[in-house]
Symmetry: C2
């Protein structure tokens, strides 16, 4: 007997039997509010990616804090336009190579650099007050 071609269930899932008792909370959720299993899967991937991003960003800031101390110790300015220009060019190239929007990559770099410069200014001021925190 042919199955109903307009199956209301999400692809890859069995739709609940109309006669079954709804013991699963999912079965109590109206169909229009259910999350397709493909979306659940994609969100799990995004969550893993986000955990990786947070840990890598933590390491980047650990490194830029070290740079802040070096700059304060050697009296180098917090900002370095030449270095930033090189980073923009490189980030845009890497974005193109990996399929990311280069404009987004540049905005992302700027987003990080703004935070880093703020940290570097704080460190410089700490050195100027005679407080030289550990590198």
């Amino acid at each position: 007997m042919p199955q109903d071609s307009e199956d209301p269930g999400w692809p890859g899932t069995d739709s609940p039997q109309e006669t079954s008792v709804p013991t699963d909370p999912e079965a109590l959720t109206p169909p229009e509010q259910r999350i397709p299993p493909e979306l659940v899967q994609a969100r799990a991937t995004i969550d893993n990616i986000d955990a990786a991003l947070i840990h890598i960003l933590a390491e980047r800031f650990r490194c830029t804090q070290h740079v802040g101390h070096l700059k304060a110790r050697y009296d180098l300015p917090p900002e370095d336009p030449g270095r930033e220009h090189q980073q923009i060019v490189r980030m845009r190239r890497l974005a193109e190579e990996s399929g990311l929007d280069p404009d987004f990559a540049e905005k992302f770099l700027s987003f990080m650099v703004t935070e880093v410069i703020r940290h570097h200014e704080d460190i410089k001021q700490a050195y100027q007050r005679g407080e030289a925190p550990e590198v």
Copy 2:
């Protein structure tokens, strides 16, 4: 003849001999513009971290584009406040665990989500115009 005691070189580097022919471009750079080797090392690490970040972000957007198509296909709204709240709580926790400023982590998530919602709206409009691009 006594050497100048105010050695312009950075710690751990040999300053160029005054009598040598400056074939190395570094030797032509005034000492105050030279970059300490520790800073060169830190920048190399930052560049590697940035390449990792760009590639992971490219993969995240590949995944969120897929989500955009799923949402358009199943007529789900581009924004999902419940999901975003869960993500904020989780990102802040991961930031605390990894030594990143939780406020920065939250700003970073918001920065990405703003871009993602823009993409999802574009995809939804493409579906509404009857253009259903490949997932």
